[in-house]
Amino acid sequence: MSLEMMAFPGALTILSLAMALAFIRLMRGPSLPDRVIALDLIATLAVGMIVLYAMAIDQPVLLDVALALALLSFLGTVAFARYLERSHRP
């Protein structure tokens, strides 16, 4: 068991903790943009987890999954922002 192999569970735990914190913000809000950035952070943390997992099981093909998820989360955030700004008419 290499030193690096022992680091993955620790790093994944830290990322899970960060995800739990982001999830609390997602539930609390209070505004819709707060929830959108919480979702964005959760997606980013998922990208980090996938990359860590790819290293842990030595499967570089999972990096493509990370790329696809990063792309999707960006498009989702942009769509939310457009929708938010357009739906608001003072």
Binding site: G48, M55, D64, T77, A81
Partner: protein, 205 residues
């Protein structure tokens, strides 16, 4: 050696992402939360991907990891800007301790077009004069005092052009106007003297 580098990068990345999570939960308003979350995640994902590039140490895989980093660096600021803009336009409140809100009163609420209230012509001709806009903090010594008592002109050679107070604008205010917490002042004067006047306004009582 390779292992140590990738280990250090993983540790940095995980720590930054934890900071992002804590920042997102603990910061007082949306804009500061966004600031904490986006910076730390960009760097966090960046270092974890760099770790992956080092770990697999194959050119094709490293290139893929670098492509994801480049993508994150490009998209994260764009997404943050769009969300921040949408939030500002829809009226998500700023933290009560916010000192400067340079956007206030500068955009058309219907078209969402921004416009500047700088005075380029004036500032070019009077090279050493500047126009400042600042908010009176909640604990300032000037709160409750009248402009005649503060003597901005006499003491600092600084002129108060207008006060933004909630929805009202008090243009060219008289000496008997009292300053309140949260007032936004438009000041004109030389850079150094303006700094002194700003220092006075930021002094807490």
């Amino acid at each position: 050696m390779k292992e140590i580098v990738s280990l250090v990068l993983i540790a940095i990345g995980a720590a930054l992402m934890l900071i992002a999570g804590i920042g997102l939960l603990r910061m007082p308003d949306l804009y500061t939360r966004m600031s904490a979350a986006t910076k730390a995640t960009t760097m966090g994902v960046g270092s974890i991907l760099l770790a992956a590039a080092v770990h697999f140490s194959e050119p094709a895989i490293a290139a893929r990891a670098l492509a994801v980093i480049a993508f994150a660096l490009l998209t994260s600021p764009v997404a943050a800007h769009m969300i921040g803009r949408a939030a500002y336009f829809t009226g998500v409140p700023l933290w009560k301790g916010t000192v400067i809100n340079e956007l206030r009163g500068r955009y058309d609420p219907r078209t969402h077009a921004l416009e500047s209230i700088r005075f380029p012509e004036l500032e070019r001709r009077l090279a050493d004069l500047q126009v400042y806009r600042l908010r009176v903090p909640a604990e300032s010594v000037v709160i409750g005092k009248t402009l005649a008592e503060i003597e901005l002109r006499k003491r600092y050679n600084v002129t108060l052009l207008a006060i933004f107070r909630g929805p009202h604008v008090i243009a060219n205010p008289e000496g008997d106007v009292q300053l309140l917490a949260g007032d936004e002042l438009i000041l004109i004067g030389s850079h150094e003297r303006l700094r002194e006047a700003v220092d006075l306004i930021y002094q807490s009582s």
